[in-house]
Amino acid sequence: MKKKTNTLLILALIVGLAFHGSAIFFTLESTYDALIHLFFADHYADSWFDPWEYRWYTGFTVQSYPPLVHQVIGILSYIGGLKFGMYTVALLAIVLFITGVYRYTLLMTGSRRIAGYGAVLAVFSSTFVETLHIFGQLPSITALSILLHSMTEIYLWIKTGKIRYFLTSVTMLAVTVTSHHVTPIFGMVFFIAPLIGMAVMDASRERVNSYKELTFKIFWNTTLKHFWRIAKFGGTSLFLIVFCIFPYWYNSKRNPITQVAIPHGSRDNFLEITSSGLVFFVIPWGIFLFVLPYFFYRYFSKRYIFFGLSFALLTILGTGGTTPIPLMMLGETAFNILTLDRFTLWATIMALPIFAEFAYRMVEGDLKVLVQEKFGEVYHRVIGGLIAGGMLFMVLFTMTLGYFRPSQPAKINMLPIVNFLGADSHDSWRYLPLGFGDQMAWLSAQTTAMTVDGNYHSARRLPELTTRAIERIENSKFRGVEGIGSLQQFLTVPEKYNLKYIFSNDKFYDPILYYCGWQRLQQLENGIMVWEKLNVPPIPQIIPKEDVPTIMKIMWGIIPLTTVLLAFIINIQLIWVRLLKSKKLEPPSFMKLELPYNKFSYKLLIFSHFWAFIVLICLGYGIYLFYVKNVAQLSANNVVEAYYDALDFKEFNRAHSYLDPDSNIDIAQYMLEVSVTDGILSSYAKMDSLHVEIYDETPTSAKAKVHTRWITPLENLYSSDYHELVKRKSKWYIKPSKFDNDIPPDQLFTANGTTFYNHGRRKITTQETYHEDVLKQPVLEILSAKLVKNRGQFSIIGEIQNVDNVPADVVIKATLYNDANKELANYNAKYHMKHKLMPKETTVFKINFEGIAWSSTKDTLPPTFDPDQFTPMNFEDQPTNFNLQSAGNVANTDLYKGVALQDMEYTDQGFNGVLFNAGVQEVTIPQLIISYYNKENELLWVDHSFVPEGVRIQRKQFFNYKPLELDSLEVIRSDLKNCFVNGMPNASIAEKVFPNRNYSHGASQTQPFSGVGFEFIKFEINSYIGNPK
């Protein structure tokens, strides 16, 4: 018989390459993982043998991820750049996957026709589309595809024992191992073990006449007969898994993953968190959901029984937290480390041959006959059309998911950032991107500059990161309190990691940058704002590195590509022969096992219909729930939720549509009113939780009490609002609330002010800046400094003045010592001070000693996060002494002082005050810094409060502040002996610059107020301007 080329396979390859090959150019770069692999590839392209990568996490080893795919991209990058390499590998992966599924289906069914169907279905498999186009898991796809290829060889080795097949199977397995470590390990369990079982089963079948005669005894005997082949293969694969990526295991042993597990959607309860259910269950399964009974029916036949067990297991494990079974089976640790979507991926891949068989039977086999016979020809066509249509719909839906619901920020043009980092030795410091999404990896790949962040969370090294469930600081706002807390630590003590530049692609982070003492440097052409921090030393010339033995480097550099070469050399002959049909090959034994497919079980058909009906009902119910939950004006609760959702996403048109139409606020008026409210809540807050309490509900009206929790870059804000709701024409509406009618006094007014400009480098030169371009550091004077203990927490408080004639940016660092002068801790002033001081301006400050949360292993992660949780440092000893280092640098931005305290009175609710903005800049977030004094007018404590709403020009803003009770405050030490300014003792400055200081001025500016533990209080104002004009 002359073998013909399988036209379906060729068709699948052509369509697959055309479809996926062209789509990847629009999807791959906005996937979660692809750019990370690109970064790793860049590492190999740059230094093939040295596994240490300095650019992320202050250095990590790339031996923490199998290297093959990265190395291949790296090599290809020499031809046409990194992205060329990535796309080439992606195209290869597509081809490998389609052919892999073809061979796997061929092996399973023994029919070239069905295998052809398998190849075509592989192209349109929604799980593949998702893995490639949404997740971008290139190594995983490559490894899985090669694993599929190797299955035929493994089967034949077990079956025939020919050494040739042993070689082909182990070489391919080696390639799998070097591309992805998890795939072969779990692949052994879920794919190869059932495969071996099936091979043995086939061998047993050959010894008897029918499956009926095949008893366990026969099977057991056959197993024993094949034992050595299995053992040889098993032993070799174990050896390969260990040996081929030995440096990986070595590294895992040396740097065990001790970090806090990052929540992953695949572990959610899919019924509760429907978005996770969609992404990790509905999309990968897709149309397969309707055919599930058939899969189980077929897989639980005698030949496939082992696959059946594996398939069932995978299906259950893939359900994540929906059922408690995965947690029970995997145990707490494994459950929290593994991403369970992988199991679904494997289950769906495993189902492909059976689905191909189903499709074959449906299109041209016995199922078609049966359906036509029972339900008629039209029904068959309709069902066929529905299945094909459903499949196509899932593919299109998955493919466009990233387009309609972008998971990544818009594509950023990296060139201006790369140029910025390359210019003027900016890469002598570390940088931090904010709001870049996974594109940060692409930025890192293009520059030699280093960042404290990184995008491969298993390799996180800094304690600030590993102790919290945050994958990156870059997107910390999505990680709530933990994320923001971690970010704040980096921003407060940036010199710890020589962090000087921040590229902000998200306005959200601006306030915290400002209040931590950062300043805007410039806006790049691509709209990215560069922030810088003064007084940060550059990265030292020599930075630590964890070296590994040379043998590891050589193994890591040579083995992966060698496995590919070996596999290529050994397999090429066979491939060649198969492809060109140059030589007549003995058809492999499994080809004889093709089933006749002449009688589709009618019962199964009926059950399948029944099942499909249930699935449809579930689906329908899900859609209905979605509708009820999301149709904004269906209930009082919905309209409030929708209104807040619209406000959260700044969709004011939508928000306005929920307002009572009878209240006569037209959209223009509403937009005006909304646009003039600025402040942390309206501009920088992300709603974290919303709780609506509906009460007094009548058929046409209701009241809602809305508790919201907002995550802002500074603090968590709680807000409770009351709304009145009305129902008009079966739709619920919100009654608009009142707006402030205040009008400013002047239409046009003038304001004069001093502005400052620093040239930086006056000469255009590539040399280090000449000393005459370096400005003198402004002189500061520390007026008081104390170590106090309040509510069990140690703080340094004090007051500092800029005694120079130029504005100063102030950095204060405090170090605590015990009686034996042993250093206990050090930290910088965060936002309990004004960082920018005009000449002769004073500010009080407070330094809290913040520990790294849950840093000791015995602390367990609290189950829910207390938003205001502050992690005080644990002191091994009682701090009794301190050292204060302050440094001034010339500042020329953020010097706005236009806010006045216009009125204040004390009531039972605390201080009710009025801020008035007398200047010409709109203050987005005003901050009050409140200092407490004893009756001798000596500083006792410093507190702060952010006013949630901004102060517009020539307008007032009310604030309320409840004074603290300082009943447990204890001043441990108060002296200026160990206080230094720009490295000089404070006393010498006081003597020289301010010899005749008038100390009564401090007292004249404090408000007498008898509170618990204090006698005087003072309010200072620090203003953050969101859009400086």
């Binding site: 006094p745 007398a918 004249s1004």
Partner: protein, 410 residues
Amino acid sequence: MHKTIYIILCFIMLGCSSKKEEPKKSAQINAIALTKKDRYTAGDAITMAFKTEAPIENFKLHIKNAYGTLLVAPEMVHGEMVFSFPTNFSRKSGLCRWKLINEGQTLLKGEIEIHPNEQKGTNMATYFGPRSITAGDIDYSMLVIAPTDVFDNPVARGTEVTVKSQFLASINEYKVATTELMAWYNVRSTHKSGRILVTAACNATPSKELTTIVFPSNSTSFKITAFQDHDYADGNQILKLRSDIIKDEFGNTVSDGTLVTFIIKNDKDAYLYTVGTTINGIVEGRTLHPSQAAHWNIQAFITGASESNSIDVTFRTAIEDYKVYFSKGNRNIDIGPLESFMKQLVPDGILVQMDVFSEHGDFIETKKTTTKKGVCNFYLSPEYLENGTYKLVIRAAGITKEFKKEMNGI
């Protein structure tokens, strides 16, 4: 047995005897230095010639100066050994020691003195700092001059350097001498603020221009005045507080940007404040008129340095009275119209507060609103406030009105 002992003894004796290390015998070689010159100027070619009987291969000249040590191989010229010094030795001023060495033995040694080459010209490195000082008698900037010859050797000790400094109309000239490497001069601060330019010259080579800024010293007391368009407490006018020109003790106007805090003490003893920064010595602070009659006592401070006189500003009441109307079962409260000092409607935005207390005087809540077109309105809906008797305290423009009303109906 004896035999064995003999053999062992022999071995022991052989083992114990050692060959004595004898000094390598070498004939005493005589070398004569032919070059007698031991003073050079930097940049001169320096060669040393020696004569010796022995073959010259093994001779080396070991030279050592401040830069380091070198072994120089000889050249044979007319039967003499000639050693040429490389330029990094011949150009470096100071002592240069040499030794003639043959197979580890020093045959001759001596030293050469190299003088800086001041004829070819002088280079100068100058440093001046700090870049800014404070007017008065204490502060100074230091000018440091390091004159060198063309080969970067410091000029001879005691070389004269001329320092010139310019301030306003005067240019002064001083002469200082280098000691060791450099000369230095302290430019004292002046009483007047401004810019001091300095330069230096050595061996007729001028330096670049260097500068320090003399900033004014700490301010002295100053006067403030209040400016307002009218003195009514309407909550809608800007009060401007302006100082005279603030000067330091030497009569210099304080630096632009100096922060001045105006502390406002009102008649309720609350400390309000506004700040301003100076331009040409004058500072202006602004704040808003209060919305009720008030008496403000204002004083300005430049913290630690100086303070102003204290002034009093009195605001007359703009709103004499207002009316309150109750309707809808006393649940709807209309306040106004609020009229200002000329019986005009008040500008929009006057804050009106209403505290709600229970019949027995327990505080329930505060409601706030602002006027529009002179009026405002509160509605206490029954969902929030059950029917019953309540005490309502309405405050606007400093006028408090108290009502006890029974709420009923919708």
